[in-house]
């Protein structure tokens, strides 16, 4: 039976889009795993007001490190951060200027992406009254390059790459690249271009699991790790 990529491998592949000197915000879910695979010199940002953070304390070991942890330093997902040289703290106004103005790559999780580059990223809260928009709309709109990482299909096997979104829209026409457990797909002005596929899979099999038409790039190839 063919294996799909693990979340770790999706994150590893997405992280490779960045080079030292780039600044980047990582959304909740798969994107958070990218931090471990980033080239040294990529500055990671979090919307509550920090740029250039490095390792994150392991939640399991936090109480063993009570003396060492700086309890005033968390990322947007409330993970405690170690101090690293070159880190800076700032207010949310500065943070959202940074986020909107095309200076950051955004790697975000996705619920659905359309062939036009629309994306459903935020979910509604458990009781479906209040939303979990958070920073996702700003991050998606303002990114230098918007990379969505997600499983290719939902748990029920429905394609998450579709012609038209059926879920609440987070952003319109902003997705640049989709990295899934089956493929790397570029969103172009003329639709979706399959650039890479997971080891052991074929472009045709990827198309079968996709709810929109893929054009096969001339240089399509297997994802390499």
């Amino acid at each position: 039976m063919k294996e799909k990529l693990t979340e770790e491998l999706i994150a590893m592949r997405a992280a490779r889009e960045l080079v030292p000197g780039d600044c980047c915000n990582l959304g909740i879910g798969i994107p958070l795993n990218c931090a471990a695979y980033m080239s040294e010199g990529v500055l990671v940002q979090s919307e509550n007001g920090v740029l250039g953070y490095g390792p994150v304390y392991d939640r399991e070991s936090l109480d063993e490190n009570v003396e060492r942890v700086d309890w005033n330093v968390v990322d947007a997902g409330m993970r405690y951060l170690e101090h690293v040289p070159g880190m800076s703290f700032f207010d949310m106004l500065t943070s959202f200027v940074m986020i909107r103005s095309g200076r950051l790559f955004s790697i975000l999780g996705g619920l659905q992406v359309s062939e036009k580059g629309d994306a459903a990223i935020h979910s509604m809260s458990e009781v479906d009254i209040a939303s979990k928009i958070g920073g996702s709309m700003d991050l998606a709109w303002g990114a230098k390059r918007l990379i969505v990482t997600m499983t290719h299909c939902s748990k029920d096997g429905d394609p998450k790459i579709v012609r038209e979104l059926t879920m609440p829209v987070t952003t319109r026409k902003r997705v640049d690249l989709i990295v899934t457990d089956l493929a790397v797909i570029e969103v172009t002005g003329s639709g979706l271009a399959l650039k890479e596929f997971a080891p052991g899979w074929t472009p045709e099999e990827v198309q079968q699991q996709t709810g929109a038409t893929l054009t096969i790039a001339n240089d399509v190839r297997e994802i390499e790790f």
Partner: protein, 265 residues
């Protein structure tokens, strides 16, 4: 000299029913001491404006952890960017659902960026701004739109808090504030946007002890300074204890969920 230093009760004594209150809720930098005091103040019909409205589990609340829902009985409207309202272990969740359905509670969803730009528009005394965020999404419903230089924008009105509750590491007696780490977040913007700003701090020092280049919120924006008592339920030490309890609780829930899944497989 008018003394800005007082207790939370004194600082909040003139807050009126119907006030719009804003505070930062994002781990460090959350004005828990003032939120508690406001919940005990008797004011009602509040509009609560916060970046995050995340409910704590009942078990943690029983141990002293609080969240914005401590103000829920006094709240008629919530303006929020991110809500974490978990039905299964936070009973306030049911109350929110019920009150929204019966029409006694309104929720206005925004993004973090929209929340901040609207607060900042208030600080600058603007009449409104054209923001690019939310075009083509549910947030544009009922809003005025306008195309400027070929780009579509949504008209956003400023949010002017009647009361800003702010959390900072230190104040000097004049009201200058410094923040450490990510506690800064929305605090400086709330201090500037609010008509009346109360800051809770862990330490008060004399003027001159703070580096003038490192002061983030200048004294002009701070009306009252409240020193958190060392034996307070929201002292520095108590907050760390609550954080550790909350992390353990979350890990335990995750372990339980995994075990349950394993059983089903």
């Amino acid at each position: 000299m008018r003394d800005k230093i007082c207790t939370a009760v004194e600082a909040l004594s003139e807050v009126k029913d119907g006030a719009l209150v804003a505070f930062n809720f994002w781990g460090p930098g959350t004005p828990l001491h003032l939120m508690k005091a406001l919940s005990e103040s008797g004011v009602k019909d509040l509009t609560v404006c916060t970046n995050n409205y995340t409910l704590r589990a009942n078990e943690l609340r029983e141990q002293g952890a609080i969240d914005a829902a401590i103000l829920l009985p006094q709240t008629r409207k919530i303006i929020v960017a991110f809500s974490g309202i978990q039905a299964e272990d936070a009973s306030a969740s049911g109350e929110i659902t019920r009150r929204v359905q019966e029409g006694t509670l309104e929720i206005e969803n925004v993004s973090h960026g929209i929340l901040i730009e609207r607060l900042h528009a208030a600080a600058m005394c603007l009449g409104g701004i054209y923001s690019p965020i939310g075009i083509g999404t549910g947030l544009e419903e009922g809003k005025e739109k306008r195309i400027i230089n070929g780009v579509e924008y949504i008209f956003q009105e400023p949010i002017t808090p009647d009361l800003g509750l702010v959390s900072a590491t230190k104040a000097d007696r004049l009201g200058n504030l410094v923040y450490h780490g990510t506690e800064r977040a929305a605090n400086p913007i709330i201090a500037m946007a609010a008509k009346y700003t109360v800051a809770e701090v862990f330490e008060i020092v004399e003027p001159g002890e703070l580096d003038p280049d490192a002061i983030v919120t200048p004294a002009a924006f701070v009306d009252r300074i409240v020193l958190i008592p060392s034996d307070d339920a929201y002292s520095k030490e108590k907050r760390i204890e609550q954080t550790l309890r909350s992390i353990k609780y979350r890990l335990q829930k995750m372990a339980e969920a995994e075990a349950a899944q394993g059983g089903n497989a």
